[in-house]
Every structure is written in C-alpha cells, then in structure tokens.
Amino acid sequence: MIGLNSVGVLVPSLVGFAFILPLLGKLIKNVKFFHIYAALASLWAAILATYNAYLVFTAGTQVYPFGGWPPPLGIAYELDKLNALLGMVTALVMLAITIYSAWYLKDYEGVAYYYTLLLGLEVGLIGCLYTGDAFNLFVMLEVLSISAYALVGFYRSKPEAVEAAIKYGMFGAVATTLYFVGLVFIYATFGTLNMADLAFKLTFYVYYPVPNPFSGTFFGNPYVASAVALALALWAFTYKSAAFPNHFWLPDAHPEAPTPVSAALSGLVVNVGVYAIVRFLYTIFGPSAFVVQLRDAVLIALLVLGIASGLIGALMMVVQEDIKRLLAYSTISHIGLVLVGVAIGTSSTLNQNSLAYVLGLAGGIYHMVNHTLGKALLFLVSGILIALAGGSRKLDDIGGVGRRYPLVSLALFLGVFQLLGVPPFGGFFSKLLIYSAYMEAGMPYVSLMVILISAISLLGYVKLIYASVFKVGSPKVEQTTKVSLPTAIVLALGIACLVTGLATTYITSMMFDVVGSFATPQGVYDYWQSFFNTLLNLASGVMR
C-alpha cells in the first residue's frame, strides 16, 4: 500500500551508501573509485531531494510512514515546504562539497573513512530535516553529531583538531542528552512523539485535556512538561545552531575540520539547529498552542540571543588572524541574524501585525539559504587559497594569493557581497525582509541593531578581502596545484548567490509559501491533517 517512494528511500539508501564504504575500502585500493562513488551517492541524494521538493511544492505535504506503521506508533517522515526546501538546498550544497573533496583529498590515502563520515553527515542532515518524529530527530541529531565530531577530529594526530573535537563533542553530548530528557517529559504527558500529533494535541489541549497516567501530578502536568521540554530542547538546538552563549565550540571546531567539511558544518549543520528551533516554536508549540506566554518569553530570549550572537560574531571577526576562524565567527553573526528573523512570532506581533510575522519568518528562512550558499562558497575559496599559499591558514601567510587567480578572487567577491548583503545579492533581500518586519512590528531598534551588526562585520570582510586578494606578500604559491575543478565549483556557487538575489521576487513569494506551510494556523492544520490522512489510510488497510 505504501510502497517505496522518494521521501522514504532517500535517507536509508544514503545510509547504505555510507556504511558499505569501509568494506569497499578493504577491497578496492584505487582512490579515484571512492571519489567517484561519493560524488555519485551525493548526486543521487541531490536528485531525490530536488524531486521531493518539487513533489511538495506541487502536490502538498508528503508523509512517509516507515514499515507501514501508522504514524504515532511508527516513525514517519513528514515533508512540508520548509523542510523540503532546506533538504534540497542541503543536498545540492553537499553535492558541491563532495565533488570539491575529490580535489581537496587527492593525495590522501584513507578517503574511504572520510567519505563514510561525510555521507554520514549528509544522512544526519537530511534525516534531521525530513523527520516528522521528535525522537527520530534525536537519533538523527546524534548521527549528525557523531559524524561532525569525527570529521572535526579527522586529523587525529593534530593537537588542535583533537582539542576542538572534544570541546565540541563533550557539550554536544550534554545537549543531545538534555533534549532526550525533554522528550521523556513530552512523552509522559502527551503520550506521543510524532510532531504532527504533538502539534494537534498542544493546539487542542485546552478544549480536550488528554488524560495520561500521571494526570494530576507534577510529572503529568502539561504546563510543566511543555516548560521543561521547551527549555531543554531550546538549549540543545541553540547549541547545534551556535547561538550565543552556546557558540563557543564553533570557532574552534569549524576551522580544524578539513575545509570541505568546514563548509558543510558552517553552511549546513548550523541550519539544522535553526530548523529544529523553528519547527518546535512554530509548528509544535505553535502560536495556537496553549503555552502562549511561555512561547513569547522564549521568543524574546531568542531575539536577545540573536542580536548578541550577531554582535559578538561581527566584533570577533575583526580580530581574527586565521582565515577559517574569521569565517567561523561570521557564521555566528549570521546565525544571529537568522534568529532575529525567526524570533518575530510573539503572540502580540501575530495578533497586531500578521504582515510583520510573515516578513520576519520569510526573511529568516531566506537568510538561512543565502548564508548557506555564501558561507559554503567562502569556505571552499579559503580552501583553495590555503592550498595555494602552502597550507597555512594565517591571513598574513596567504598574502594576496588571490591576485594571481582572478576567477577565485571573483568568487570570493561574490561570496563576500552575498554575506555583506549588498544589493542585488540574495543576502540583501533577506536582510531587507528582516528590517522591514521589525519596522512593521514597531521595533525599529532591532533593525538598528541589525544594521550595526552589518556595519561592524564590514570590517571583517574588508580584512578578508585585503588579506586574500590585495595584500603584497611573498606567498609560497604552489605552482603544481591545479585549481580548475574547485574554481568551477566556487564559481557555480557564486552564480547561485547572484541568482538568489536577481530572482528575488520569485524566491520571496516562495518563502511566503514556505512560511504559510509551517507557521500559520492553516499551515499547521495542513501539517496534522496530512498526518491524520496517512493514519486513516493505514488504519483502514489494517482493518481490511
């Protein structure tokens, strides 16, 4: 009845691709095979994810129950426009990163393990995005995290890499465990872990209180459970998305990983944290849930944290001497801006000005995509520059390698313009939406903070451009390094940055669609409606 379909098949097939690799590594000694294998696996994922997005945008929300089990009992993947879009962006950028890895690791022997971890990272990313089950989100978050920790500590004889990995891993494990504890509270009270089911129960709790074995006790009180679960989940997700003050691991971990992995971590992994925050605060504990006051308080806290991470990221960018570390701080700054965008949905904003609500959320999601493209591009460019400068990550040692490679410099400029947000690049339009949302909501001081963040980060980007393109150094340019493949990739990403800006009228209306699918009462209704439809279909199948 529910056969194989593209929604369900993507993650399991990628798991297969990933875990057969160590075995193949024992059998096949030709390094080239693994590069091609990984690129093909990524291509497969990219095609499927794009097809899924197409499916969702044309045919509406897709639900895939694994093993044919009805959703609240079994695990289900539920794709609405938000996670379909992010999944597509993730898979496409991962494809670029995988192909780039073939160049980056051309002289490295143990590529089988590298690609196992990289594909594992992709499994975690897409699994986190696609899943419609809060516990499965925990599992996928752990898959993602373990791959990420291992990739950060990939150069295991390098002290800095191991240090960064343990710093990331130690608190990361705490974060995911706390999320698990939060889930226990949710399960005890609401008796379900399916996101759509939870959204339904939280919306209608006031009218139809769900009895549970602990009703009337502290443990079974839905308010207590929601408060505990939301607090712990939010702490875990802000850890994954590196929002201040949970950002400390990021500037250590991202630069120490191999460069393509840095691009994946900085561009994609932090998105998962933001996605989970958005999913929890807008779909599950949505505006119509019964814990409105709690939600408002949490959103205001998120707004403050977003501004703080934006400022701290921008200020710290200015003093960095390491190109990848500078980019890592820029990630913190941009995640701050995304959080500012998605923190708009307090109940007062929603009631007084629904336009601001939609604008802010659309701006946040749009900025997430823009940041992904720009940051992946800049990290990949930094990899080329580092390789050309003889392996040093210091801005001073890179000393203007870019001036000899005009196409690489062009890509660098495109990425910087995207992140700086100058018109007509995509970064501008997403910031425009965020500004206008807060002006519309009568909070122009937030817009002021956003422009302050942008202005301070200008210093960091000037430093980056200066050091990598204009500096008069005498860098050891490795003449033997051929950079045509990575240059093509970064230029493609640069064109993508331009397209996100020039096609902004289409993309913005698409973003409004996306916001409509997960944050409006109608969207949340559709979300659990399709869940119920699946449930009814399956149940009638069982009856027959």
Binding site: A227, W235, W249, L305, E321, P424, F429, V462, T508
Partner: protein
C-alpha cells in the same frame, strides 16, 4: 513611481550596472592616454622616501583595525578575547550553564504562574 521594495531594488541595481557601464564607456572615450608603467611609478609612493626604508610594503592584517580595536573598544575586546573566549572548556561552561539556568528559570516562572492561577 511607487513600487514594491524588491522591484525597486532590482531596478536600482539595474541603474547601478547601467550607469557603471556608461561611465566606463565615457571614460574610455575621454581618456586617450595609455596606462603608464614607467620606472618612475613602479614603486609605491612613500612621500619621497625609497621603498627600502620600509621592512614591508603591506601592513600585517591584524594591525588593520588598530584604531577600532585598541582605540575605541579596548576593554570590550579584552573582555571578549581574554575572558569570554578563553579557550577553557569550564569557563565556556559557565556561560552555557547560566543560559540553561535562564531557560529553566523562564520555564519555572511560567509553571509557577500557571499553577498559582490554578491551571
């Protein structure tokens, strides 16, 4: 003309590109002299001093914003770099646990509020 901000930005970007192209065209028509790379201009201009007075032509990139970092916000940067981003796991843990405590406090206050109201 009244437009929506996105279209207005796109049109203005078009104007930017168009004007830049036209200016470039005018410039290349007006300017008849070729680029001069004579010996006189080959070295950077150092107010009459020879280049050999400097150990390096460029500035190290970490001195680029000296005025901003040390002049304006020395205390802030000292706090940010030495105290907050100290690289020691336990000191980060302090900030993180304060934040966790804050979130728990929000949850606690909310619960207390609801329970006191008799929910």
């Amino acid at each position: 003309m009244f437009l929506d901000p996105l279209t207005a930005t796109l049109i203005l970007s078009g104007v930017l590109a168009f004007t830049a192209l036209i200016t470039w065209f005018i410039y290349s028509v007006v300017k008849s002299n070729p680029t001069n790379v004579s010996e006189e201009f080959k070295e950077p201009y150092l107010a009459g001093e020879p280049t050999s007075t400097l150990s390096r032509i460029d500035a190290p990139s970490n001195t680029l914003f000296w005025g901003f970092i040390y002049g304006l916000s020395r205390k802030l940067y000292h706090y940010l770099r030495e105290r907050m981003h100290s690289g020691i796991l336990n000191e980060w843990g302090e900030y993180m646990s304060v934040y966790l405590g804050l979130l728990s406090l929000i949850g606690l206050l909310f619960t207390a509020l609801i329970l006191l109201r008799g929910g």
